[in-house]
């Protein structure tokens, strides 16, 4: 098992290749340029294909084509590029094609800036494209998780025939940490590509396969819509994940994902040192949202949601507690980080100190 | 005449576009007065003997409802 000091963006490339992804189509956009650069050198070495597409629109449609052939394929971008990919993502979801999409979020809306943010939460979890569809959204908060979640994303995408998004931010993409690489000798469940009889390969030895999302008859489309809904229900029942920290006797909870969760953990420890019973819930799957960990919190008097936006995940937290617990918000945007001492002050205020 | 032609037209699938009639060099085709189940006046062969199997009707038919059997002169 080898350990490597690695940048978050590079870890995405490494994780994808470790999961037997052999096709990557990207386009330059800060703060995730290293992903394309990494793939431009490493993909050919792995016998794969790297294309720098003419636009994010072209890239997502190349993903659509390659995914239809059954191969594992990935694209990455930041907020503005993900916006351009939305129609393509809706098509991929409608056609039930597996793929991995990476969003290393930056300041928005508009051109915003190249500093980190978490302001594409709604876009990723509520669907920025048209139609009833969902995507599995995984939110790493370390370079190790970036590496592992990328591999798991390919596994989940194939398992449920659905696009999976890795939702990181500029910090996670740019920072370096030690990563324990998957042992390629050992049989890696995430690297195993399942049989795909539906794939487009040329109809030798079988009836033709079709990948199409035009269902012109209302009954046909409605049947498909509910079929997708059932799939999303099944994913929700099986794949919800959250990381809990010092929650057992907590009277106050902080809810945060990604980089915000790392910073909040420090604030939780500071508050605990002052005798405040506070814990942290860190959603890992942003969709399906882990609402189950927000139930039966009888001893909890208040929840503080910490995000790098003006309040998005807070809505899912409120939905989860169903009004039983007041949910408050602390956020920083524009690329500014929520400071652990500021979060600590919020926790103290809520704790009535 | 090197070839004789036997033209068959799928009466119900024809949309009566008239291109085969237009391009037939021997005037062996016409649009039927009676309409088909689609409500189109389909092309019909009215002068089979005059057909030399040139295949123009087959080439220009957008709905592939025409078949042309090319029979060598003298064989049955």
């Amino acid at each position: 098992m080898s350990r490597v000091l690695m940048k978050g963006n590079d870890a995405i490339g490494a994780g994808a290749i470790a999961a037997n992804c052999r096709y990557y189509y990207g386009y330059p956009i800060t703060p995730q340029n290293e992903i394309g650069e990494y793939m431009s050198s490493e993909m050919p070495k792995a016998g794969g294909v790297f294309i720098q597409a003419e636009s994010e629109v072209a890239a997502i449609n190349m993903v659509y084509g390659t995914s239809a052939t059954g191969a594992r394929v990935m694209t990455s971008s930041s907020g503005p590029g993900i916006s351009l990919k939305m129609e393509g993502i809706s098509y991929i979801a409608a056609a039930e094609l597996p793929c991995v999409i990476v969003n290393i979020m930056r300041g928005g809306p508009g051109l915003g800036n190249i500093a980190p943010s978490q302001s594409d939460y709604f876009q990723a979890t509520k669907g920025g494209g048209h139609g009833d569809y969902r995507l599995i959204v995984l939110a790493p908060s370390s370079v190790q998780e970036i590496y592992d979640f990328t591999r798991q994303a390919f596994y989940l995408a194939d398992k449920y025939r659905i696009p999976a998004i890795i939702l990181g931010d500029g910090f996670l993409g740019q920072m370096m940490e030690v990563v324990e690489l998957a042992d390629s000798a050992k049989d890696d469940e995430y690297a195993r590509i399942p049989e795909k009889p539906w794939a487009i390969t040329g109809c030798k030895g079988r009836e033709k396969n079709i990948v199409n999302t035009l269902l012109i008859e209302p009954d046909t489309l409605e049947k498909h819509n509910w079929k997708l809904k059932d799939k999303y229900q099944q994913i929700a029942e099986n794949e919800k994940r959250a990381d809990l920290y010092r929650v057992d006797d907590a009277e106050i909870l902080v809810a945060a994902f990604g980089i915000s969760a790392r910073i909040s953990k420090e604030a939780v420890d500071m508050a605990r040192d002052e005798g405040i019973k506070v814990g942290l819930i860190r959603p890992i799957t942003l969709w399906p949202f882990p609402d189950h960990v927000f139930k039966n919190l009888d001893s909890v008097k208040g929840i503080l949601t910490v995000e790098m936006n003006t309040g998005q995940m807070i809505e899912d937290v409120r939905l989860s507690v169903e009004g039983k617990i007041p949910v408050e918000f602390y956020g920083r945007t524009g690329g500014n980080l929520p400071d652990s001492t500021a979060i600590f002050e919020e926790i103290k205020r809520m704790g009535g100190m | 005449m090197a070839f004789k032609g036997k033209v068959t037209i799928d009466r119900e699938k024809c949309k009566g576009c008239g291109l085969c009639v237009e391009f037939c060099p021997r005037g062996t085709l016409e649009l039927d007065k009676k309409i088909n189940t689609q409500g189109y006046n389909p092309a019909v062969v009215t002068d089979q003997d005059n057909c030399n199997a040139c295949g123009f009707c087959f080439l220009v038919c957008p709905d592939m409802v025409v078949e042309v059997e090319k029979i060598k002169e003298g064989s049955k």
Binding site: Y23, Y25, V49, I51, A53, E54, S55, V57, A58, A59, N61, M62, V63, Y64, G65, T66, S67, A68, T69, A71, V73, E87, G88, Y91, I200, T201, G202, C203, K204, G205, K208, I210, V211, N212, T213, L214 | K13, K15, C17, G18, L19, E22, F23, Y40, G55, F56, F58, L59, V60, C61, P62, D63, M64, V66, E67, V68, E69, K70, I71, K72
Partner: protein, 248 residues
């Protein structure tokens, strides 16, 4: 001894939904005849556009992917890169290819992707009811150029193969027509050369096929043949715009 001209293997028996006299059906036949003559049906992947020919999967008996409007060349790129031994072609109308999909077309050609684009030019958006397309002629009336296409306001018709001919990645570019037997046969030869150039790995190929649209041109099929001949061929001259050494 007799031979029969009839539907080729790669064509389904499904009744076509196209309007009477529409050239799409003819081009469907040509594409499938070439595929069968090359014995490539089982290795072919067709990319359908958004437009009148969006229903390709009902008419062709081989693997088909339906692409988002304008994005077929990118989808085809993704397929061909994953299946280099397969025959991969897109089938697109003038709106799909030269309007919303211009960037994808140009860059697929610039990259020299080993794909073939079958480009149906009938000077309008057929499926949506006859709006102006990039290939609409000067003064041609459409539902969005009701007084005729005024080039000062709506620009000039685009000649696609000419546009692409400066790109080294494009190895075979031709313009043919489907409006009479002679040209239909020439169109088939051109499609064959384009597919062969692809399978020989030479690079990107495109065949533009002048086509009629009787319904939206507000003519009957026979009149639309004449209109195509008298009006389109002047702006869209037929011929091989590019055929690099090695194309056979």
């Amino acid at each position: 001894m007799s031979t029969v001209l009839k539907k080729t293997r790669s064509l389904e028996d499904t009744k076509l939904h196209y309007c009477p006299g529409c050239s799409h059906g003819i081009v469907h036949r040509l594409v499938c005849e070439v595929i069968d003559e090359m014995e490539m049906r089982e290795q072919t992947v067709g990319i359908a556009p958004v437009g009148c020919s969006v229903f390709l999967d009902a008419y062709f008996d081989f693997d088909i992917i339906q692409a988002a409007h304008g994005r077929a060349p990118a989808v085809a790129t993704g397929v061909k890169r994953a299946l280099p031994e397969n025959l991969v072609f897109t089938y697109q109308g003038d709106g799909d290819l030269a309007s919303i999909g211009m960037s994808e077309m140009v860059h697929a050609a610039a990259r020299g992707e080993r794909i073939t684009i079958i480009f149906i030019n009938n000077t309008n958006y057929g499926m949506t009811g006859g709006q102006m397309a990039p290939t609409t002629l000067e003064q041609q009336v459409t539902t969005t150029t009701p007084a005729g296409r005024d080039t000062r306001l709506a620009g000039f018709p685009i000649q696609v193969p000419e546009l692409l001919s400066s790109l080294p990645g494009a190895v075979y570019l031709s313009r043919v027509s489907a409006h009479n037997p002679k040209n239909i046969n020439k169109a088939k030869k051109s499609i064959r050369k384009a597919f062969q150039a692809q399978m020989d790995g030479l690079g990107f190929s495109l065949v533009e096929i002048l086509s009629t649209c009787p319904t939206n041109w507000r003519m009957n099929p026979v009149q639309s043949i004449q209109w195509l001949e008298e009006n389109m061929m002047e702006i869209y001259p037929l011929g091989e715009l590019k055929s690099v050494e090695g194309v056979s």
